[in-house]
């Protein structure tokens, strides 16, 4: 494997004043990997992703991201996060939301005067094309279907090209064709750009195909599994 991008040592994850949801003695993730996280609802999958995104402090232990022990030391845009509810600006267009992925790379004057470069605009168009929403680029996000909104969130991450992408159930509720488009883009991000993609998903079949490694959260612990070992439900 190539460079280590996430390293956890004796980390307890959960909420202050409560007992830890998950205890992780050791965990390491590498660039270019696609890691799947599975587990029953309420086990702490989202809390784990939020902690890795720096939105929540661990209760104990050391988290090292891209070799830095503090999130504030990271280069802007190193982490991409797609929350369960996608985190899109509903009153804005598809193009606007995708362009937001370029904000970490924008200069201060581009941010201040809202002046994206020609290259940013071109990449926005390419990211929107990649998820098959070319004809919707000027549509307001609130007018799109749930599946189309998920594609917008993925396009924003394609635009951002983060070193680590944390995606919380971004493949759920998608039809097969759309799910394939989105999965293909996530794989492209990992294999071509070298991002480490960490996915939370409930579909065993999808996880088997997509992931290099699988992590199961069970009774407050993590257990590593081979993607091929995951059993497919009969129904």
């Amino acid at each position: 494997m190539s460079n280590s991008v996430i390293k956890l040592s004796d980390v307890d994850i959960g909420f202050l004043g409560e007992s830890p949801l998950i205890s992780i003695p050791n965990f390491e993730a590498f660039a270019g990997e696609v890691i799947g996280i599975i587990g029953v609802s309420g086990i702490g999958k989202t809390t784990l992703l939020r902690t890795l995104a720096g939105l929540q402090q661990p209760l104990n232990g050391q988290i090292s991201i891209l070799g830095k022990s503090s999130f504030s030391e990271l280069v802007k845009g190193s982490i991409g996060y797609i929350p369960q509810r996608l985190g899109l600006v509903h009153h804005q267009t598809v193009g606007y939301n995708v362009l937001m992925g370029a904000l970490p790379q924008a200069t201060w004057w581009q941010s201040l005067f809202s002046l994206p470069s020609a290259e940013m605009r071109l990449r926005t168009r390419e990211a929107v094309d990649a998820v098959g929403l070319s004809d919707k680029i000027s549509d307001q996000v609130s007018q799109l279907s749930g599946g189309q909104q998920r594609r917008v969130a993925v396009a924003r991450s394609l635009m951002q090209k983060p070193s680590i992408l944390l995606a919380d159930e971004c493949l759920g509720e998608l039809d097969l064709a759309t799910s394939e488009i989105v999965a293909e883009q996530l794989l492209h991000l990992a294999k071509e750009h070298g991002s480490c993609v960490i996915l939370v998903d409930h579909s065993p079949a999808r996880m088997r195909v997509l992931c290099d490694r699988l992590i199961e959260l069970h009774q407050g612990k993590i257990r590593e599994m081979e993607p091929g070992s995951i059993s497919l439900p009969l129904l």
């Binding site: 939105l55 982490i79 996060y81 929350p83 996608l86 970490p104 951002q160």
Partner: protein, 296 residues
């Protein structure tokens, strides 16, 4: 024995409440000198004013106001009439106050919102906004008339300060009401607070913010007429001119009717436009009844 007494008291609680409230009302009325003879004297004055007010003198719409402040340079007497000049000034004061107030209150409200700023900054900013709301626009107008002199400038400054305090509160509440996911996605990217606010929070709350700005303009038109009474420009200043030295109540009534029609039209238009920006079903279709009746 005790329980039967309590039950008796409970049965008569309405009577006791009625007697207590009546007694309190009597004591407070005596204290404030709200007495029958005073009310009757006031009623006599009202009858005199009403008699002098009718019919309204609509010459305020046609005669030139040579004493207008600032002077009116149009050739047309109608355009330079007290009603036209006063009304235009009131609308101009409301427009500038809303514009300046919005420009200043938007960054302040972002600093006051708990979900966008650290606790120390939001506490300081909220206190500042609350301080601006402590004084009503009329008192601000009085202060600015003393500072910058009689005229619309005092009105613009007074209404701007009040707009900052009032609109700032409405806006930080709107910003606090947005969904947290767009902010989290932005924060995970490592963006600064200012960028998160500018590109995620404000666009997400944009419909509410635009609706509140329109409401504030509507409010400022109504209150812009009041600040004129203390010399801060607008139609209120022309009303005061007729009331104070000359007691020309028929002209005052005409100005009030002109203002009433204008405010009603603006309220209706504002309601209609604001409705476009709010998706919630709770916002009813604007009706004349909503505009005419005082709002709760």
């Amino acid at each position: 024995m005790l329980s039967s007494l309590i039950q008796n008291l409970r049965k008569r609680s309405r009577l006791i409440t009625f007697i207590a409230v009546s007694l309190l009302a009597y004591i407070v009325s005596r204290h404030l000198d709200v007495t029958g003879p005073n009310l009757s004297r006031g009623f006599d004055n009202l009858l005199v004013i009403m008699a002098e007010s009718f019919p309204p003198d609509f010459s305020v719409l046609t005669n030139r106001a040579s004493w207008s402040n600032p002077p009116c340079n149009f050739d047309s007497d109608i355009l330079c009439s007290p009603a036209a000049v006063g009304l235009l000034q009131t609308l101009e004061i409301a427009f500038l106050a809303t514009l300046f107030g919005t420009i200043i209150s938007l960054p302040l409200s972002s600093m006051a919102a708990h979900n966008l700023s650290p606790l120390w900054l939001s506490t300081i900013t909220r206190n500042l906004l609350a301080g601006l709301r402590v004084l009503p626009s009329l008192i601000w107008a009085l202060l600015f008339v003393i500072i910058v002199g009689i005229g619309p400038l005092a009105g613009v400054l007074a209404m701007t300060l009040y707009t900052i305090g009032y609109l700032g509160k409405l806006q930080y509440e709107a910003l606090e009401g947005i969904r947290k996911q767009p902010l989290e996605a932005a924060r995970a990217m490592g963006l600064s607070r200012a960028v998160v606010t500018r590109y995620f929070a404000i666009p997400e709350a944009s419909n509410s913010l635009i609706s509140q700005i329109l409401f504030m303009f509507e409010y400022n038109v109504r209150h812009g007429s009041v600040v004129g009474l203390v010399g801060a420009g607008g139609i209120g200043w022309y009303m005061q001119y007729y009331i104070s030295p000359f007691k020309l109540y028929d002209r005052v009534l005409a100005l009030i009717l002109v203002l009433y029609v204008t405010v009603t039209i603006i309220d209706w238009l504002s309601l209609k436009i604001r409705r476009r920006f709010i998706e919630s079903e709770e916002v009813k279709k604007p009706r004349w009844r909503d505009v005419m009746l005082p709002q709760k």
